[in-house]
């Protein structure tokens, strides 16, 4: 026991002290935070200032474009030729010419002249606004009451309610359930691959360094294998926790510090636009969505509350740990059977197939969480860590969950036993790459 602790200690510290661990620990959250922040940042950066001169031959759009912080509209009646001269020397960087025919002919298009190509968002803003103006204009032309139309077109949103045991209704949200399930499943999948292969590499390293025979003369091969698996698991947990903490710190602080002004601005601006639109021409369904959105956010948080968070967390920890342990034992066995990493392909494939299969199955499980396929694969130990996590937010019966956990523990014990048998023979075999048949024979060698 004392020796096992020594092994775990070495495996843990020799990895944690590595520069690559430090780099990955810092880089990981930066990447993740980057994934979250960059799109927001890009979207904001896109909004360069534009001064647009509108030459409206139809007369419909004069003074109808609401100014935004970035886009200012000026209306003129001069010829395109003289306007283009202004484009060259200044103050405008865009000229929009709206032909007379735009009102009646769908083929007629306005033209936007530029010195520097405007971004997508500016173009989008202009065309959206024009569409709305035209929409309202045509409706008025057909004498249709806009307010009635607004009433007629209400978006329908389904609220799913779960009737719980005590008869209370609980709100659920399929989207959030799926997101939580898949998030956990991806974390488990990554953990298994990243750290399972670290175990494998560690075993190969010991074998090629020829230190393994020295060590197994002091400790049992199984102890060495177990020590390595546990040590690497602790490394994984350390890194995972650091990632989560750092990601949260980085993304929240960056968001609040870097984008503080912009966020406030955007909000102010949105309010302004709404006000303008309300006063002016109502913006149809667009407006409806905006009004609905605050409620939606509140509902979202309610839904998260309604999923049994502690149950999901406990199950996540369980499947995370035992899924890793089971696969790490298999990876250790693979590492022991070969002399170099290049030889591992043949053996890795059958181990990765159930993992990848789990994800394929998980897709259909999310759409039908109570199918018999979902039931089977969420209990089968090689796929349960991933499939069950996807199923879990959809409320799995307790007996199924218990069965799945027990079968995972049994599977873990079984595969660790098998791996231990292969490991203790494999680590002392040098030279030729064994076949599957030989690995089978190793199971029956006497210790």
């Amino acid at each position: 026991m004392n020796k096992l602790f020594l092994i775990i200690q070495r495996e843990y510290f020799s990895r944690v002290k590595k520069k690559s661990f430090l780099i990955m620990t810092i880089l990981g959250p930066l990447l993740m935070a980057g994934v979250m922040i960059v799109p927001v940042w890009l979207a904001m950066r896109d909004k360069t200032d534009h001064q647009i001169l509108v030459l409206d031959h139809s007369g419909l759009f004069i003074d109808k474009f609401p100014d935004t912080k970035e886009i200012k509209f000026t209306y003129g009646a001069e010829s395109l030729q003289s306007a283009k001269a202004k484009l060259k020397d200044g103050p405008f960087d865009l000229i929009m010419e709206i032909p007379m025919e735009v009102i009646n002919e769908s083929k007629a298009t306005p033209f936007l002249y530029y010195k520097k190509q405007p971004g997508m968002s500016a173009e989008q803003y202009i065309s959206n606004t024009m569409e709305n103006i035209l929409f309202d204009y045509r409706l008025q032309g057909d004498s249709i009451d806009i307010s009635k139309l607004d009433k007629a077109r209400r978006p329908v949103q389904i609220l799913t309610m779960k009737v719980s045991e005590d008869g209370k209704d609980e709100k659920t949200n399929t989207g959030i359930n799926m997101a939580i399930g898949f998030g956990c499943a991806i974390a488990i999948y990554m953990m298994i691959f990243l750290y399972g292969s670290q175990v494998m590499r560690g075993v190969i390293e010991e074998k090629t360094n020829r230190i393994v025979e020295v060590i197994v003369s002091s400790v049992k091969p199984f102890q060495l294998m177990l020590g390595k698996i546990i040590g690497v698991a602790l490394v994984g947990l350390t890194q995972f926790i650091l990632w989560v903490v750092l990601t949260i710190i980085i993304s929240t602080s960056v968001n609040s510090i870097l984008f503080k002004d912009q966020i406030a601005d955007t909000q102010k601006q949105n309010a302004q636009i709404e006000k303008v639109m309300k006063n002016d021409i109502t913006a149809g369904t667009d407006k409806m969505e905006k009004i609905n959105s605050p409620n939606e956010v509140v509902d979202l948080f309610n839904n998260v509350k309604n999923i049994n968070i502690s149950k999901v967390l406990i199950c996540f920890a369980f499947y995370f740990l035992f899924g890793y342990l089971l696969y790490a034992a298999l990876f250790a066995a693979i590492g022991s059977a070969v002399d170099s990493e290049a030889d591992t392909q043949q053996f890795i494939l059958p181990v990765t197939i159930p993992l990848i299969l789990s994800f394929i199955i998980a897709q259909s499980v999310a759409t039908d969480p109570d199918s018999s396929m979902a039931q089977f694969f969420s209990i089968f130990p090689l796929t349960s860590p991933i499939v069950m996590m996807v199923r879990l937010p959809f409320d799995v019966p307790n007996w199924e969950l218990a069965l799945s956990m027990i079968s995972l523990i049994v599977g873990f014990l079984f595969f660790t036993w098998v791996a231990g048998k292969i490991y203790r023979t494999g680590i002392l075999m040098y030279g030729k790459k064994p076949s599957w048949k030989e690995l089978g024979k190793w199971l029956f060698y006497k210790a």
Binding site: L6, I7, S14, E205, E213, V214, S217, S218, P221, R424
Partner: protein, 316 residues
């Protein structure tokens, strides 16, 4: 004689071949025991069984009279033939780790390591990474780790490989010193010169079976064929004529009037009979019996099993 290690009727079979076939041997305490045999004979299998890395299919091993069990691991030091160290770890961390795996307490390990590093004058290596050391330097570190916990039984598989002659001598002296301090050493090697120099007893394993064992002295005596080397000044023809039927001339070499001949005594004739016969014709410069080297014995026994059967029955 009480033995520290007793191996009884060990059998070990792998899928396709027999590694050990009914092998028995006993190792006397405080002696150096040579475990010899050609490549693939089964030496490593036997050593791994003694180290409890693998188990025998049948048979028993006794350590100090007790059934071999995991608690004995701490009394055995093993230097495998295929040996290495963690390349990325520092020497100090590594030796501390390996010493503690052998059951030494941290402070104890540190004190003993300091003493050894001082003795070998390698204190400056402590903070180096293993990959910065040469192969010979790594071997030194490995030797220290093997003997650090003062094992009662030391198993050294090709301990001199990778050492230059100076360091080989250093290690040789350490081995002898350890024996004098009370350790028993099992020594596996293909270097027959060092067997003659170091070993008290040997066992020879070939094709999974023990084919010869006993003390080095006795075995060499057993294998001598009653031949002698004689150098003399005088008449070679007169000398050969004087041999009569009691001895056979196997080889002769002449350098001016100094002749060196190899003579095999026939029947029960004694060297003195020969000397008396030739004294009249030769001035004897040297006369010595040819005792076969372990190298010769090894080759003849392994290559020709038929002679060995008669011989080994004689030694037993």
């Amino acid at each position: 004689m009480e033995s520290i290690l007793e191996v009884k009727n060990i059998n070990k079979q792998y899928a396709n071949h027999v590694a050990l076939n009914n092998v028995s041997l006993s190792v006397a305490p405080q002696k150096i025991f040579g475990l010899l045999g050609p490549n693939g004979a089964g030496k490593t299998s036997l050593i791994r069984i003694i180290n409890q890395i693998t188990g025998p299919d049948s048979g028993q091993v006794f350590f100090n009279g007790e059934h071999l069990s995991p608690k004995h691991v701490d009394f055995i030091g093993y230097l495998p033939e295929e040996r290495g160290l963690y390349k990325k770890m520092s020497v100090g961390e590594q030796v501390m780790y390996l010493a503690q795996l052998k059951g030494l307490k941290k402070a104890d390990a540190k004190a003993k390591l300091n003493a050894w590093f001082k003795k070998f004058e390698i204190e400056s290596w402590w903070d180096k990474k293993v990959e910065e050391l040469s192969k010979g330097m790594q071997q030194k570190v490995q030797f220290i780790v093997t003997v650090l916990h003062e094992p009662k039984l030391l198993i050294l598989d090709e301990p001199f490989s990778g050492f230059d002659p100076i360091n080989a001598q250093l290690i040789k002296n350490e081995i002898l010193e350890l024996r004098d301090k009370g350790a028993t050493i099992i020594f596996s090697t293909h270097n027959m010169g060092s067997v003659e120099e170091l070993c008290d007893n040997i066992a020879l394993i070939n094709k999974a079976e023990k084919i010869l064992d006993g003390s080095v002295k006795e075995i060499r005596q057993t294998y001598k064929s009653n031949t002698y080397n004689i150098s003399f000044k005088g008449n070679l023809l007169g000398f050969t004529n004087a041999l009569w039927a009691g001895a056979e001339l196997l080889d002769k070499k002449s350098d001016d009037d100094v002749h060196t001949v190899t003579v095999k005594m026939l029947r029960q004739n004694k060297p003195n009979d020969l000397l008396q016969a030739v004294l009249a014709n030769a001035e004897i410069l040297s006369f010595n019996e040819i005792v076969p080297s372990m190298n010769d014995i090894f080759i003849s026994v392994v290559e020709n099993k038929s002679t060995l059967n008669t011989q080994s029955s004689y030694t037993e």
